[in-house]
Symmetry: C2
Subunit: 217 residues, 2 copies
Amino acid sequence: MPTLTDPDIATVARSHSAKRLSIIDAAANVFCREGFSGANIDLVAMEAGVSRQTVYNHHRDKENLFAAVVRQVTERINAEMFDTLATFPDKPTDLQADLAGFAMRLARNCLCSREGKFLRKLIQSEGERYPELFSAWREDGPGKTNAALAARFARLALAGHLDIDDPDVAARQFVALVHADLQIIMVLGGNPTEDELRRSAATAVTTFLRAYGRRAA
Amino acid sequence: MPTLTDPDIATVARSHSAKRLSIIDAAANVFCREGFSGANIDLVAMEAGVSRQTVYNHHRDKENLFAAVVRQVTERINAEMFDTLATFPDKPTDLQADLAGFAMRLARNCLCSREGKFLRKLIQSEGERYPELFSAWREDGPGKTNAALAARFARLALAGHLDIDDPDVAARQFVALVHADLQIIMVLGGNPTEDELRRSAATAVTTFLRAYGRRAA
DNA sequence: AGATTTTTAGACAGGCTTGTCCAAATAGTC
DNA sequence: GACTATTTGGACAAGCCTGTCTAAAAATCT
């Protein structure tokens, strides 16, 4: 009877799914760099360290591969988003500092991560070509995560820490503010430094709190 | 001696530059839809109502055509941006309403215009392929326009209408807030309705003024 | 109207890509 | 160690696209 540590089964599964993953990974890079039309299956195979035929074995054709990549990346970034949401300061001691910390994690893990940049780029460039693929993403991605973030802000408001009329708007604006300073850095493919992340998070939260902090009674 | 109204010269110039323009126009559409690699010169020629050879006559090759398109679009959107900036409410009577009007014009004329969406898309998808082309754009585009907007906000603050520490940050955040609600609509290529524009401008300005409105003395 | 330039349509070579097929090699299973 | 599934490399047809070239047609200029 095979066990979880059985080397045979483990290696089969690993080699198989590992190959699958490294293909998707390489494909993600290539699609991101070159766009759909410019992406070259030979290059994907090379970067994955796999023969071209193997790519065709795992995913029927280019479109299939592309769809698999989008699904995979969406899944990963959603997971990352919810992990980050779990660190939301529900019981803040220092609102500015705690929210800034959260903003920084949000920026680093979701907005500026390889997956985050990849998805934004892909949606911009190929969104109109695959409406059904990306409208599914839209509901599963921003739809859910924005609602979740809004719920956190609503609780913070209810607890008397914030003064918010519409939590959905507040959530969208929070993300937009965090994003604001970072866009210019990332436009050309660059990555913000840890320091830039900290500063832009602080600026964003300062403004956010000026707008949504508790009014003087 | 030829005059400005001389039909001969006028028609030469018109037919020449008109053809040039319609090629660039068609190319802009095609590049935007298909990306650089996916763009097809035959298609450009067809959409421009011109033979393929004419495209090659006016712009040496595909790269040249692409660069011409980017220059042209940048020029247009910069002009639009400064036209819009000229309508900034320097002497506001109703700060919320006046700024909301400006935000709406900004969104409609610059952020959501064909050129605006085109440029964003192109920068995202081809920015890393043409670093020099787009870093020139960066200085000429956002660099200048953001500074100009910041100057307007600074004057408004000086006149006692706003309470701003850093006008550059305020300007960036203003644009980010105006953009926030619109992105979701435009992601799939859709255009916001006049009503959505109005609403999102109002929301953005409300938050902006809660953050930067004059504090109670 | 005659001369000159621009434009056109189409053919064409060269290159690159996708997706298939196949026989040999490799790795995993019992 | 024999058996099976996967992987590999390479050859291959078919299609598409770029960029060039040509000779004829259209438009422009004088």
